[in-house]
Amino acid sequence: MTQLNPMIEVTNLDKFYGTFHALKNIDLTVRQGEKVVICGPSGSGKSTLIRCFNGLEWHNSGRLVIDGIEVYEGAKEIRELRQEVGMVFQQFNLFPHLTVLENLMIGPMKVRKISKAQAEETARNYLDRVHIPEQADKYPAQLSGGQQQRVAIARSLCMETRIMLFDEPTSALDPEMINEVLDVMVELADTGMTMVVVTHEMGFARKVADTMVFMEAGQIVEISPPEQFFTNPSSERCRLFLNQILEH
């Protein structure tokens, strides 16, 4: 991994909400093609961190460089950057007034200014990739949660993203739908996509992650490869957390 270009470089990053110190002195490097899984108790800053990666939140100090572009509030390149960095949300956030196909086409057509025919071809291609080509003309509300999340993944991919961020993509799903979404994410990982995933699905993490990150109270407590992370974590707090979520 080390020989590949860094895609995300975080140095000394701090983030405040008023007086609340949400992210403390974060250092993290994600290389091209690397799969990073971030876990930790709720309120530990996992979501805030990845939301900084595409400018949904702004950090207050430190440096954040994504694919060679320096990210800061008011950066002109932020919109170009967002096109390269896809985001999948816990609540899917599909556009309810558009059909599945239109959800996939609107970004490429309006933002990337691609022709309608070409956008539709790309959209259908990615719908095949997430295994729901037959749902193209339905509205999001007519789909199950798992299907909606797969559409959301396809929507990001249609922008020809180079980095994919997942913010607890399976937390809002019924248990029987979690696997269909994780399967799509595993397939995506196999294509060599750079992925940063906030999740508590440790089975997925074991299968896919190159690097595990454990966060608590706005700090990164542990960064290690999964084999070490799951068997012999260096911090006591991380061991406790793993025991809690792996017991069931």
């Binding site: 595409n54 400018g55 170009e80 967002r82 949300f89 556009f95 309810p96 609107i106 922008m159």
Partner: protein
């Protein structure tokens, strides 16, 4: 219907509601009570008018709706006035929506200047009576900027209703979940694109019912421009009365015309709403 009368589990019929509830709940009784109330009001006003010696001349009203002259069919003053009212209302409404959208976006812009300008505008307009606003536009701003009574009316109605419309638009825009903004942002949309393709199309659903109310309100308040003699339904009504002295018949007719127009509008929009709701 059949299983509704049987309580679950025992198979025994449910006890019937009390007698008076069944009596007042039945549709026939409701219709009768309604007819009686309306009849009493109608009779009351009619006998009151008789008492003051009013000479009813309903037969003279149709000529103000339409006439068959030797030249052929021609519309009377009331339909012509109605068209003028609708014209005035449509133009004012479009202008009011444009101003309202601008004010709403200013208010939502998050800029201190934008918000304070919007709030100042809203407070100013909301706290001036419509009639005074009309006088301001016609007697003060009209001579200064050189616009006529028709323009003054349109501006008055547009400005007055833009304050209310901007609040409806703001509420509708705020009703769209923040996740939609974030999703649009995350695929690289500009704020303008987000409004145009994502937020506004979704807020229409939330805005439609209060906006209909606002159109109805605007059509009704457009009658006020008759005080500066702009040609529209109410003005025509006043003119007819000054010619014929049939104030009861003409005011009843004018009121009925407003009622019919606004009812058609409300029913039409509630049909649209249902159709729109199915799509979601």
């Amino acid at each position: 219907m059949t299983d509704l009368g049987i309580s679950r589990g025992t198979g025994q019929p449910l006890p019937k509601p009390p007698y008076y509830k069944r009596f007042f709940g039945s549709s026939l009784v409701s219709v009768v009570i309604y007819a009686v109330i309306v009849g009493l009001i109608a009779y009351g006003s009619y006998s009151g008018a008789q008492g003051m010696g009013y000479n009813w001349q309903w037969y003279r009203v149709p000529q103000f709706l339409y006439r068959n002259t030797e030249i052929g069919f021609e519309w009377g003053e009331i339909p012509i006035g109605l068209v003028a009212t609708i014209n005035l209302s449509v133009i004012s409404f479009l202008l009011a929506t444009a101003i309202g959208l601008l004010v709403a976006l200013l208010r939502l812009s998050g800029l201190v200047v934008g918000t304070s300008v919007a709030v100042a505008f809203l407070e100013l307009i909301r706290n001036i009576p419509l009639l005074v606003l009309l006088y301001l536009f016609y007697y003060v701003l009209g001579p200064i900027f050189g616009f006529n009574r028709y323009t003054a009316s349109i501006l008055t109605l547009a400005v007055f209703h833009s304050a209310l419309i901007s609040e409806i638009l703001r509420a509708g825009i705020n009703a769209v979940p923040t996740g939609q903004w974030e999703a649009a942002k995350s695929i690289g949309m500009t704020p303008y694109q987000t409004y145009k393709y994502i937020v506004l199309p979704q807020s229409v659903r939330f805005m439609l019912p209060p906006m209909t109310g606002e159109v109805v309100h605007l059509i009704k308040s457009s009658a006020i421009v008759s005080v500066i003699a702009v040609a529209e339904l109410t003005t025509f009504g006043r003119n007819i009365i000054s010619d014929t002295y049939m104030s009861f018949e003409i005011w009843f007719t004018i009121a009925l015309v407003y009622l019919v127009v606004t009812l058609i509008l409300s029913i039409g929009v509630s049909y649209l709403e249902k159709k729109y709701a199915v799509d979601q």
